[in-house]
């Protein structure tokens, strides 16, 4: 396993985890977004280890503004992330893309795509806004998802600990899954409960085994 930087179109260097043995299959892995990405971090890296063992080079870039990034999350946009993932695909000379959950919304479409349990932007936003409503009500404040969304699309919001800018919030609301020819792997194919649902970040070795096998099967 290697770590290193890759150049983004915005000119920053972002961190990536790589398993590069110059093999013919080179997979760009796009992590789940926001809190889901945090909950699935361990699982995602374990998935890469398995894919490496199965003979596939894989690359897991940071999204600008997240993880080790020095960029400000608040100014990131969904289209900016799409462009960044396109650049990462070019930089790592990826032959295929595996996108996890909301990662499917920013996956480069010029390569063959496999999507694991893809989620629309609206459903990710719905869960984050709802959490904010519950947090407010615990603190004795009355908020609504509609009210938060209206404010968020004007001035941005802090959701589940992430400072998300107004452009990102508006874009998420209407971000649909548009890769019609992507191969989809549903959670039902993997078995068990999706790790993004867990209350705490976690890992499930059996699920990682099954998912790695399914991905290999789909791209080989």
């Amino acid at each position: 396993m290697l770590t290193g930087l890759w150049p983004t179109p915005a000119g920053s260097g972002e961190y990536a985890l790589s398993f590069d043995r110059r093999r013919p299959l080179r997979l760009l892995v796009i992590r789940a977004l926001f809190d889901e990405g945090n909950k699935m971090r361990h699982f995602t890296v374990e998935l890469l280890r398995r894919l490496d063992k199965a003979g596939i080079d894989c690359f897991l870039p940071d999204l600008p503004g997240t993880n080790e990034s020095l960029e400000n999350l608040e100014v990131q946009t969904l289209t900016g992330w799409q462009t960044a993932m396109y650049s990462a695909a070019e930089h790592f000379r990826a032959t295929h893309v595996l996108a996890i959950r909301g990662g499917a919304l920013i996956a480069p479409s010029h390569l063959p795509n496999v999507h694991y349990a893809p989620a629309s932007g609206a459903s990710l936003l719905r869960a984050m806004l709802r959490a904010q409503v519950i947090i407010a009500s615990e603190a004795g404040r009355k908020e609504t998802r509609d009210g938060l969304f209206a404010r968020g699309s004007e001035e941005g919001l802090r959701l589940a600990g992430y400072h998300i800018g107004p452009q990102m919030i508006s874009a998420l609301e209407s971000a649909a899954l548009t890769h019609d020819d992507a191969i989809e792997i549903a959670q039902g194919d993997v078995g068990g409960g999706g790790l993004w649902l867990r209350a705490e970040p976690g890992h499930d070795a059996a699920q990682a085994d099954v998912l790695a096998n399914l991905v290999v099967d789909r791209i080989k």
Partner: protein, 97 residues
Amino acid sequence: MATNLPAPTAQSEETELLLRQVLADVLGLSAERISELDASSGLFGHLPELDSMAVAGLLTELEDRLDIIIEDDDVDGEMLETFGALLTFLDAKRADG
């Protein structure tokens, strides 16, 4: 013995099964631990892992799997306090829908 409780229907049994399944997924608990939950088992405020974000995920997943819409106003401490209260709420939602 006469009772005022509604008889369990196929739909309410299915709701209970789905709620247990979603709780198992969210809490990462075994089927055995989940089967021990009863009407008085405490949820929000009783299980430390069930914080606001986890509750939001739980409700959003329940909406998707039960094909219901949960309004902001529906969500309060009482509805989330116990397994029984949440189940009663979901049953009523499904019956309305």
